[in-house]
């Protein structure tokens, strides 16, 4: 690889500031994207950094883009990296995203907040939600991850995914519907009727 001389020397102050600003603005959305595609937090973090390595290597090109096109550039780069990672994974296992059960982070949910016991049931609900999110169709998981994990609105998520904002909202709507159904299904398995009505003592807020 080759860098302009000033970058090879460590980058000028404006270059550094530009990259930092870009990182702060986009890291969360990129993390959500990689999490949605790969389902692994550590891998997502590594790939976020790799996107910015590429941005650094092509800094002049990125900086020359209109502000609203920079996100598209970063996410196009992210899509290529995700595909590369699929291929790498395919060498050892299926190329589909690794649909893990509860991640270590989720397992540690209660510990992070220092809320053992009292919120154990809540943590279990979150783990069930995590499993349901991982089972979503990819376009819906992308939209949900960018908007919930990435903190984006539908316009921003659309620019990242190359979709109209309305399509992103549609995917989000579908995702939420599937999640509600999945959680209701889980609840049915635990003694709550599938129509949302309480079938036992564990039916808080349900029925009338």
């Amino acid at each position: 690889m080759s860098l302009p001389p000033r970058e090879a020397a460590g980058g000028s102050a404006p270059s550094r500031a530009f990259l930092e600003d870009l990182y702060r603005a986009e890291r969360r959305g990129l993390f959500g994207f990689f999490w949605a595609r790969l389902g692994d937090r550590e891998e997502a973090l590594d790939l976020v950094q790799e996107v910015f390595e590429r941005a650094w290597r092509h800094l002049d090109r990125v900086r020359a883009l209109p502000a609203d096109r920079r996100r598209a550039w970063l996410f196009a780069c992210a899509r290529r990296l995700a595909v590369d990672r699929y291929r790498h994974r395919a060498a050892v296992r299926r190329a589909e995203p690794d649909i893990q059960t509860a991640s270590a982070a989720l397992a540690a949910l209660g510990q992070r907040d220092g809320i053992p016991g009292a919120r154990a049931e809540r943590a279990e609900d979150v783990r069930r939600l995590d499993a349901a999110v991982r089972a979503l169709p990819a376009p819906e998981r992308d939209a949900l991850a960018l908007m919930v994990l990435g903190g984006m609105n539908s316009r921003q998520a659309g620019s990242a995914l190359g979709l109209p904002p309305g399509t992103v909202r549609y995917h989000l709507l579908r995702a939420r519907r599937r999640l509600r159904e999945a959680l209701a299904g889980d609840a049915a398995g635990k003694g709550v009727a599938g129509d949302g009505t309480a079938a036992g003592p564990r039916g808080p807020g349900r029925g009338a």
Partner: protein
């Protein structure tokens, strides 16, 4: 016939769960923005990034960055804009440990 739960209540419940889920999935703090080619320059963050994005073809001998740059990079940790801050007691993650 039993009335179905109010949709708004269900949505509120789902929103709350999604918030907790996001809190569990998102990193407690994003790694500081390291510069390619520099290994371990920002403490734990540097160690993390040395594992991640600095080990792929960047030569630290030809692409040096000074302490001032790392000080600026480390400020990313304390960025409060997204609500993430590196806790003083942040334990080293698996990559951190591997890099030590």
């Amino acid at each position: 016939m039993v009335r179905r739960p109010v949709r708004a209540a269900r949505d509120a419940g789902l929103d709350g769960l999604l918030r907790d889920w996001a809190r569990a999935v998102l990193p407690e703090a994003f790694p500081a923005l390291a510069s390619p080619g520099v290994r371990g320059g920002a403490g734990a963050a540097g160690a993390k990034t040395a594992q991640g994005w600095t080990g792929r073809g960047w030569d630290p001998l030809t692409q040096p960055l000074g302490p001032a740059f790392w000080a600026a990079m480390d400020a990313v940790w304390s960025d409060a804009g997204l609500g993430f801050a590196r806790p003083a007691s942040r334990p080293a993650g698996p990559s951190d440990r591997a890099a030590v």
